[in-house]
Symmetry: C2
Subunit: 544 residues, 2 copies
């Protein structure tokens, strides 16, 4: 590793004399220059006015389209055989594995384990073995009496704008013992309970047939052992499901590990996260489990409370990760650049060897500074949340032009950052941004067993979305997911990757061709409008 980026050498022994293997990645300078360029752009007055007006125009245009073509769209869908909103494919594009079951499911599972195996040893504390019964005795609780109220994992009015309180909701009955026992992959039981619950959720998805999900599992970067352990958990408990694709979330909590002296510098954290992957890529036979697990991992997420402020301004003068030894946490943009750069190198290496590659899909724009959205614009394949695009017309317009996918979770936002009725999802959808619906944390937010359907139902009711709207969102969710090319062909149509109506197979997506044509024409118009303006500017510059 050099300057926070991993390099691959052909030969171990003569490391000093060699050039590293050529695996291109964007260098720090390019990144910081681009950053500052866009930062200047989003505060430039005329640009703001221009983008604001174009966005207003997009919204009015959609209203007009709706008034004129709503009935034709519906007619198209009615005459579309066999396919309706219930049997189009939907992917839950943003969900945390540790909260992928709803509260009632977790409650039932806890009660079930207590009924069937109260005397099983489930933990060890200072050499003393502890049974399940003793765990509950220690908490002065009888699981029979346990309710979703006493479990207390549901977000309520108390969590609004309190990410700290929200995080502690991950502890059932406020007890971290139960979180360790039921919601972690590493514990005395080797994460068995957690695996069983995740598999129950997977079975429900498989039965529903048309729903997929992309749960996040954590890698913290505390130690290089995390990867083999996670892979072992996955393989041993057979957590694989055809309806799930896995994403690795990396919490931005270097400061906590550093202050506990678990890490010497930020570079070490990056090394713990990425070195095992390089090793498994180069020598799959020595890392069989990890190699196998990586087949089902489709991307990386970067997570934490975005509203935490950072004093540090990232620039090319910022210390390199290997000399970032302070207890201060690096800023969001710093995390994003180094994750992105390493993923790029890794992807290039894996592509060379015919292995799967990874997408970068960070949480972004849920709260905090607007600059996060600039970093993600430069690095991310797609983002989760994107609420704050509401506040920057320039960025919103850029995300529209580049069609950067956004996985939105209005029910989650409703409990944490933004009231449901104020959520910009409907507005983004109208303008043509590439949005999907996702649940984020069913354990904390949802009431029914069909959590993704609950998410769609509430959006449909509150915003009076049409069937075509819902199916467009569902189509977006498949497109922006980590499902394979073959699966996307199966779910969306042979030519799904083509733009416009040509890429849409209504028999599979139930999205009206009129809608697809409208979206395509509108986007082409905006782009040609811009390129025309560029040309005429060039001409003006030449003639002057």
């Amino acid at each position: 590793m050099q300057g926070g980026i991993l390099f691959v050498y052909d030969n171990k022994k003569m490391l000093e004399h060699q050039e590293p293997h050529s695996l291109p990645y964007p260098d720090l300078e390019t990144y910081t220059v681009d950053m500052s360029h866009i930062l200047a752009l989003i505060t430039d007055g005329p640009t703001k006015t221009y983008c604001h007006r174009r966005l207003n125009f997009l919204e009015s245009k959609f209203s007009l389209h709706e008034m004129l073509n709503e009935m034709s769209e519906f007619k198209e869908l009615k005459s579309n055989p066999h396919r309706d909103f219930y049997n189009v494919r939907k992917v839950d594009t943003h969900i945390h594995a540790a909260a992928c079951m709803n509260q009632k499911h977790l409650l039932r599972f806890i009660k079930h384990t207590y009924q069937t195996e109260p005397d099983r040893t489930v933990a060890e504390k200072r050499g003393r073995k502890i049974t399940l019964r003793q765990v509950f005795d220690g908490l002065h609780m009888d699981p029979y009496d346990l309710t979703v109220d006493s479990l207390d994992v549901h977000a309520g009015r108390q969590t609004f704008h309190r990410f700290d309180k929200f995080n502690s909701k991950y502890n059932p009955v406020g007890a971290s013992e139960l979180r360790d026992l039921y919601l972690k992959t590493e514990n005395y039981l080797g994460g068995e309970y957690f695996a069983r619950m995740v598999k129950e959720v997977a079975r429900e998805l498989e039965e529903s047939k048309y729903q997929y999900s992309e749960p996040r599992l954590s890698i913290y970067g505390r130690s290089p052992e995390e990867w083999p352990n996670l892979a072992y958990w996955f393989i041993q408990h057979k957590v694989y499901s055809p309806n799930m694709r896995w994403i690795i979330q990396v919490p931005r909590i270097y400061d906590i590990f550093r202050s506990k002296k678990l890490l010497p510098n930020f570079g070490k954290m990056l090394e713990n996260i990425f070195l095992p992957l390089f090793k498994a890529t180069i020598n799959p036979q020595d890392h069989r489990e990890l190699h196998l697990f990586l087949k089902y991992v489709t991307g990386f997420d970067s997570v934490d409370d975005e509203s935490k402020h950072s004093d540090h301004m990232f620039s090319d003068k910022s210390p390199n990760p290997d000399v970032w030894t302070s207890e201060q946490n690096p800023p969001y943009s710093y995390y994003l650049y180094y994750m992105y750069a390493n993923i790029m190198v890794l992807n290039n290496l894996r592509r060379e060897r015919g292995l799967s590659t990874f997408l970068f899909r960070p949480h972004c724009g849920e709260a905090g500074s607007i600059t996060h959205l600039v970093s993600a614009f430069l690095t991310a394949d797609n983002i989760s949340h994107g609420l704050l695009l509401k506040k920057s017309p320039v960025l919103q317009y850029l995300y529209y032009l580049a069609q950067i996918p956004i996985a939105m979770s209005p029910l989650s936002n409703n409990s944490l950052f933004l009231e449901y009725s104020k959520n910009p999802l409907r507005e983004f959808l109208h303008k043509g941004l590439h949005v999907s619906l996702s649940t984020d944390d069913p354990m904390q937010f949802h009431y029914t067993k069909e959590t993704l359907m609950e998410e769609y139902a509430i959006a449909a009711q509150v915003w009076k979305l049409s069937t075509c709207d819902l199916c467009e969102i569902a189509r977006n969710s498949v497109l922006q997911s980590g499902l394979s090319h073959q699966e996307k062909q199966k779910f969306l149509g042979q030519n799904y990757y083509k733009e416009g109506p040509e890429g849409n197979d209504i028999r599979k997506t139930n999205v009206a061709q009129i809608r697809m044509a409208f979206r395509y024409e509108t986007l082409c118009n905006e782009l040609s409008f811009l390129s025309d303006a560029m040309k005429s500017e060039e001409i003006t510059a030449l003639t002057n």
Copy 2:
């Protein structure tokens, strides 16, 4: 029958010389005098101001209660063993049997019948027998291709303020043949398909264990045969379920029958509705099936589009039902009085004989004139909708003081009359009105399989209701339902009928005692405030 009211005589032969059996009922004069008294009251300026201010006061008082006691309430619930929102009893207090399955369920059922018995004779037209296959051939449809879109029973943006369009949504694929075949109790198959679907819904309720429902079945009053036919359908197909109680809905469509010359006058319609019940009550052995069916019928509903305007002003000078021969439909208040008076007489007769009695639970205040709420205030045990109470502070205050239960259906309103965010449910709940949540027509409005839970979930999310709020609504729903005294004791506690915290068993209802005490004290305060004012007025009157 005399003047639209049924009388019972002890002896058939000497009818002229006898006094009818004494079965008290409110006479027309009392009703019209009371009507005009309240009509004067609700337009009286000072009364309006007074009620408006008291209602504001009630709302602020609740906000204060919430700020001070929210955490204590939640603490109470957390320490309440075994009971949570999921396992408190909930009754769907307002649901139409013909739309009690969701759209996906209906679709599956139609496909299933076609797969299993395409060659079954399901109808007869001009002597020719028609098979299921022929029905679909006639509609140029292959059920395999049928989707919820082509089924087209879901309310959308097109139904807002269009009750006419909404009513036609009851016809799957817009075809009344399918409605007759699948959603009616009287057809060639003797309503078998409809019975099977209702029973499937019932099985789901029984499995969920904690949910009950009160579906409405129609009696039109076109002919006296409707009652025995309906009872036969019920008994023959064993539609009984422990989780269902039945309500009879009478559509206010005399004008349609009259214009088709199916009825000579309005009195005949009343006779068709009520006479069979009197007969079955007096001679149960001659009407065994009806007698048995009536055990599971707990009330009457009056239904139709309330926004239809009526020219007639009901007064004691209005023509009696037996001379109401015009093609004009009688007004809402007229319908309500005559249904109520007959139900009263019938109840008194049944009570004498130790038989079950019926509640009167009309649709009221969904749309149309505010005077409907006055009629219902004088006659109804509880009402469905009550939206328009929002517009009359005096009536709203009266409904509060009398604690008249209101079954609200915000998702239904959202598709028909009032946007979700403007629905007054939250405000009514805060002020202390006796509200419950109900689905109305899952076929038209809901997306998930758990329709009542969907209704609760959306209310909880949009209005950020607390667990205590939700459990209070659930408790209200049991109280206002037609469940028996014994069942209510089992579901709410031994003393459920007592007022205040005494009547609440938190172990069964999961409603905090602090909440119950607050409601009780607040209501007592309002009532004593009023009676004090009355007294001081009397004193003033005496001393002057």
